[in-house]
Symmetry: C2
């Protein structure tokens, strides 16, 4: 296997017809060129240059190798350039997966920020709910997974959402609001005690997503009567506005869609979900991914609805 540096030397020797000229051109000393050519000839198993008078001329094998060297060196140059573009954030792709209510606020703002700073970066995006998004991160389907969790949700994450084998970037705490019809008897209160909603009909997420609601209600002594089940925040609010029940929604969801016929009030005891961005530990060292995480963190810090 030929050394690419040797091929570059060969090309320069072929072009200039002289070792010393090639040395000057490439920033070596003469003897270095001489030695590199000898090494190349040893590797080739045949002379590559002949000395005629005081200039150097390529043999047939030298000419052949020089032709290939052109191909090889240009492929190497374009590889170098493309990799450098990725390392220098002039190109590259970052794949983000987020849960739906993060998608409409946090993620678009972060993507906008990243691409404003680094126009060559392409940030791809897909939606998935927390357990699935982290799975897909582990499987290599994405680079960053946005997930949310409630305290005590998952035993192997700590207070900041860190998981053993993933790098976690805590973004923000997303407060939960009681969502009531505008004309509800408690609508004028600034805060609403969850226990006061014990007798209401509830609109909740799908069975997999309603865990926190059920748990929070249980903590204050009741089981919510869930009469509608939907993960669509617009639908939830439509149902509430029609006086068909009440709901518990996170601030981010209310930022993205806020029906005029409903009011949202912080609940007591206060309840929050932690929003965390995850990536693989090694991927955090990839600059394009790091800057995307930075932008997510910045956008989250500027959110109005954080707790």
């Amino acid at each position: 296997m030929f050394d690419s540096r040797h091929l570059r030397v060969l090309r320069e020797v072929a072009r200039t017809g002289s070792y010393s000229a090639a040395a000057r051109e490439l920033g070596y000393t003469q003897p270095a060129i001489s030695q590199q050519m000898r090494a190349l000839e040893r590797a080739a198993g045949t002379p590559l240059v002949v000395r005629v008078g005081r200039r150097m001329r390529l043999t047939e094998a030298g000419e052949v190798l020089n032709r290939h060297a052109a191909t090889i060196l240009s492929a190497l140059a374009s590889a170098e350039e493309e990799v450098a573009a990725i390392a220098g954030l002039r190109a590259g792709r970052v794949r983000v997966i987020a849960f739906p209510s993060g998608s409409s606020t946090l993620v678009p703002a972060a993507i906008a920020k990243v691409t404003r700073r680094h126009p060559g970066l392409r940030v791809e995006f897909a939606e998935a709910e927390p357990p699935e998004s982290v799975e897909r991160l582990r499987e290599g389907d994405c680079d960053i997974a946005l997930a949310f969790s409630y305290d005590g949700d998952d035993p192997d994450q700590d207070a900041e959402g860190a998981v053993a084998d993933l790098a976690a970037v805590p973004l923000c705490a997303d407060r939960l609001y009681a969502v009531l019809p505008a004309g509800h008897r408690l609508a004028r209160r600034r805060r609403i005690r969850l226990a006061d909603l014990a007798g209401e009909r509830w609109i909740a997420g799908c069975p997999r997503c309603r865990g926190h609601l059920v748990q929070a209600c249980a903590a204050v002594g009741f089981t919510p009567a869930i009469t509608f089940s939907t993960d669509d925040v617009a639908v939830v609010q439509g149902l509430v506005a029609a006086d068909l029940g009440v709901a518990l929604l996170p601030g981010l969801a209310l930022d993205s869609v806020h029906h005029s016929g409903v009011v949202a009030r912080p609940v007591e005891p206060p309840s929050v979900r932690r929003i965390t961005a995850y990536t693989l530990p090694d991927l955090a060292a990839v600059r394009s991914i790091a800057v995307t995480l930075d932008s997510l963190r910045e956008v989250a810090a500027e959110l109005p609805s954080r707790a």
Copy 2:
């Protein structure tokens, strides 16, 4: 500039998803692979692999570089193969320039011998008279120049035809014959004294080629009366057969064309020309050229007409 060995390691790591598997595959130890990958990442300026669980997966930059590596490595492999073919005499071209009377006997036989032994070699051939053929050798127009010379012809060659800055392979001594019409008064003698031909009309080569004849005659005390001038041996013999003169021809020329109406007899004092193959000193180390020189030497040794 990336090291091609590193690229091969990257390819193997990408294929197997494991450093140890790549190490087994390439005949290295694990740590060697680990270090090569680190060196490659340092050169790339960005991580190329991520460790997920116990397997290694390529990053975007890794994938990009791996794609280029395929191109580069295949170009390297074909360069290696083509150069090895030349070094191994399975391919290659040897350019020979010879004087005309060498062309019809020595050279064809040598070419046949070379290509029988090494069917992949292509021996090219062109004609030129001695002073020109050596010039073209120095200019890189050919690899081997066949030339002849007479003693004392050229002060900077020694008894074997060696010239200071060229590699010389003495091939054979080519005896000169007096060529007479079959009915000539001296035709029955076994040897002919040049002095006995002092009164004849002579057929000689072109002014540039007749030097030796004039000199040899002068040495025995006469100046030949040159009435016809041609470098074509067939024409020379035709003229002799028509009793228009006598000539002095080398054995090789008579081997190629022998008119039935003439007789050829060694002259006294004996006169020979030395036939020598020249090449550039460095080119003698090129195997295809060396084997061609060998074949020329062998063919010359088998010639019937050597002195």
